[in-house]
Amino acid sequence: MSKKVLIVDDDPDVRMITASVVQDKGYLPMEAVNGEEGLAKVKSEKPDLVVLDVMMPKQSGVRMFRNLKTDKKFQNIPVLMLTGIARNAFLRSQKVLTEFGDKPVPEPEGYLEKPVDPEELGAAIQKFLA
């Protein structure tokens, strides 16, 4: 059975392009439009990789990432961030949220800043699933 890749992004174009890259690599794409829906799909579908945006309505990628990485059942699922937020800014935000009282979380396993070349995205996805 193909490995599953959950793509969580509010931008339909990004979801479509990422899904196409995932399919080209021989994996099964699934989609969610925000962190809330993404987390529900993690629980129901148990993906092998999550490709996650940061800035999304309702529940951001920040909260979904923190929820995933503090849940013993799901914290080993690798997360590839795919976002317009700079890596340093995201890492700072995670450190600060921990300082403000949240549970500590590790760095995401992968990080790509938009816009990203489809080949680079495909290579990053394959790195986690090969």
């Binding site: 309702k58 951001s60 920040v62 995201f90």
Partner: protein
């Protein structure tokens, strides 16, 4: 790529001085822009964000967050609209302030930016303080308020500031040790403060 954060007791002239510093240095002055970016990300209006920010840290917000669940909001507002509570606001705020600092050459007004960027290598943290009556007078002069209204606004904003920091688990926001410069605006006029800050940043 420098970053200046301005924390202030309300009415000490933070918005006015921040705008002057940004103009003098050719930086972006980030006050309403922070709200606008949060609103855009969350797919809500800036007014909605301001409402959440205003109530952040209060008991009222905690009660509403517990009582009103997101599925109810979805049914009332429709699935396409965004939603925001205190936690979502804080998540966005921390990311957006970190991102604006990463973009650089920006003056950030309040909102815990001195904590969020406390160890940012390019950040200069400034605190403006003043006596209560001076702050009331500042609001009367710059915002055309009468004494009673100005006093109410200052008291309400002092409370809001305290609540927001309480939400972040912080109570030392007026501690001089957090800042590079602490300016007593009762002893500096705006032009002197502008020169002090810009000389420091350029040095």
């Amino acid at each position: 790529m420098a970053v200046i954060t301005i924390s202030r007791q309300f009415g000490a002239g933070g918005r006015t001085l921040g705008s002057m510093i940004a103009r003098e240095l050719g930086y972006t002055f980030a006050d309403s822009e922070v709200i606008e970016r949060i609103a855009e990300a969350a797919n809500v209006t800036p007014t909605y964000v301001e409402g959440v920010e205003k109530e952040a840290g209060t008991n009222l917000t905690r009660i509403i967050n517990k009582m009103v669940n997101k599925s109810l909001v979805d049914r009332v507002l429709g699935g396409e609209r965004g939603y925001m509570d205190e936690q979502i606001y804080l998540d966005y705020l921390v990311v957006i302030i970190s991102q604006m600092a990463e973009e650089g050459d920006v003056v950030l007004l309040g909102r815990g930016s001195q904590y969020i960027l406390h160890d940012h290598p390019e950040a200069t943290h400034i605190l403006l303080v003043d006596e209560l009556e001076n702050r009331i007078q500042f609001m009367m002069k710059h915002y055309e308020l009468n004494h009673k209204k100005a006093a109410q606004v200052v008291a309400a904003e002092d409370k809001r500031r305290s609540n927001l920091y309480h939400r972040l688990g912080k109570s030392d926001f007026d501690d001089p040790n957090l800042y590079h410069l602490v300016l007593n605006m009762g002893r500096f006029n705006l032009d002197q403060a502008l020169k002090t800050v810009t000389d420091y940043v350029r040095s």
